[in-house]
Amino acid sequence: MFLTDEEKRILDGSEGPGKQKAMEMLYALGLTFDAEKLIPVKRAHVALSGQEGDTYWCELLVNGGATCAITPTTNPYWDTCYLTKFFDVTKEELDLANRTGEAYRKIGAKLTYHCAPGLSTGVPFFGEHIAYSESSATPYVNGALGARSNRESSISALAAAVIGKTPYYGFHIDENRHGHLLVEVEADLKDCYDWGILGHVVGELAGYHNPVLRFKHKVNPGPEDYLYFGAEAATSGAVAMYHMVGVTPEAPTIEAAFGGGKVPSAAAVITDKDLKDREAKLTPATGDINLVMLGCPHYTYDQILEIDRLFAGRKVSHNTAFWILAEAGAVELAERSHLRQKLELLGVRMVGDTCIDEPCWKSFEGHLGLTDSPKCAYYRERRGQPFAIRRLSECVEAAIKGRID
């Protein structure tokens, strides 16, 4: 792997141990994936989490004198000011959150606290080389937008932001963006929830390969549809790039999606029944619910509007909490349009800058929750809260009854 004299000096530690660590990370990845060199990037997204592993890495770099060469956008941890009004956390949990914010402020990140940068807080150009972590963000920027990012971890993306470069391999190179397997989709995709379930099926089929989807019925996916699809394909698998024939920018034709090469026979045909079966497999639980949790990935303003429409003035059951986790800009818009106040009267609360996978939610653990996101259910399981998974309209009806049947 070729390194410039300046890059070699950083790797040798001449510019301090923080930048050296960052360069070691990029160099190790470059060697592993046979990169010929590093290339400059002007955008990075760091999936900071307020988890110890990630905060440890940021502190290691910043305490070693590193700051960011390009200001990366960041994922959420949790809104400590707002949520501590509702929930108890331990001193250690609050300390870790504060440590995380402090470390990322010091290293010079843009504290967007939003897990779907491709929708608003960091939208790359077509063909732009970037370093985006957050497993749901990477397939979005690659597949839906045609930007070029590898499946970065939070720590490799931070290393890229510190150096302002990323190793040139993988999805930065034309031939690696071509499709590997063909998936025929016959299922009817009514809303973003169906796209999510489809993504969950496709992720398991594809692993880390690039799926090419061809649709029997004409589709016209919106931002949330792409987001849900990619989030779930990167939960059941490690999909970071996909094509949708006649829909996504690098797949005007099926031949183009496969790079002009041979189009393989279909690896799978996905029908309505497959989506139903997947939903059943994912959500065995029914019963009383103590929480409806939405916003993994973060909800958009349009999704908050949809919640208002579905409630139609009805109220959340007294023994159930209803939380929407959204991009801070969407919460601000809801505030301005008085949607937030209106929903609060129904028992629906919203918070910006916050992830589902945080200690502030622990008071709900031990009981059944409900979400529209298999990804949410998957990661909450580790914290001891089982989740049923249903589409938004069913989540709203269940919230009103306080139970899911």
């Binding site: 070691e24 990370m25 190790a28 990845l29 592993t32 994936f33 999936a47 900071l48 989490s49 988890q51 110890e52 592993g53 990630d54 440890y56 890495w57 994922n75 972590s133 957050e134 497993s135 990477t138 590898n150 499946r151 970065e152 971890s153 939070s154 720590i155 490799s156 993306a157 993988g170 692993g207 880390y208 990167a234 939960t235 059941s236 698998g237 490690a238 996978d357 990804k375 998957y378 990661y379 399981e381 580790r382």
Partner: protein
């Protein structure tokens, strides 16, 4: 080691030498879905659900899942001394590589033989990343 040890070439990803009992996962893994206190895999429907990977030689299909919790999964196992002693990857993927680099967990890939063909649960395996070798002694039949 005795003569029944088979030696296979491999490629170093993260340096180090380690030996131990093999645990073989035909599924990709998200390390966050392990119990840091025991190293036990807690993901439902996973190929090695309920087995511990702590201080074992883990033969692993690949990494999967979130790009941040994978890192924390490695970190939590690391501070509790319950990381695998070494990981032999079948399909190499950047997130798992960067997590292993951060905590310096010995990792190799590109084994010259299919690891699923030549390594089973309970075999004694040595991974020497520096020499680029995996040495396998089959468990007693």
């Amino acid at each position: 080691m005795s003569q029944d040890v088979k030696v296979y070439k491999c490629r170093k990803i993260v340096k180090g030498c380690a030996e131990g009992e093999a645990v073989v996962s035909r599924d990709a893994m998200c390390f966050y879905l392990t119990d840091p206190e025991t190293g036990e895999v807690i993901e439902r429907n996973h190929a090695i659900h309920g087995k511990s990977i702590a201080n074992k030689i883990l033969v692993l299909k690949s990494g999967k899942g979130s790009s941040v919790v994978q890192v924390d999964g490695f970190y939590q196992l690391w501070v509790k001394h319950n990381l695998p002693a070494a990981i032999i990857l079948v399909e190499t993927e950047p997130v798992i590589v960067s997590a292993a680099v951060m905590v310096e967990c010995t990792m190799v890939d590109r084994m010259e033989a299919d690891p699923y063909e030549v390594i089973e649960d309970g075999d004694h395996v040595e991974v020497d990343a520096e020499k680029g070798e995996v040495r396998v002694r089959k468990k007693a039949a």
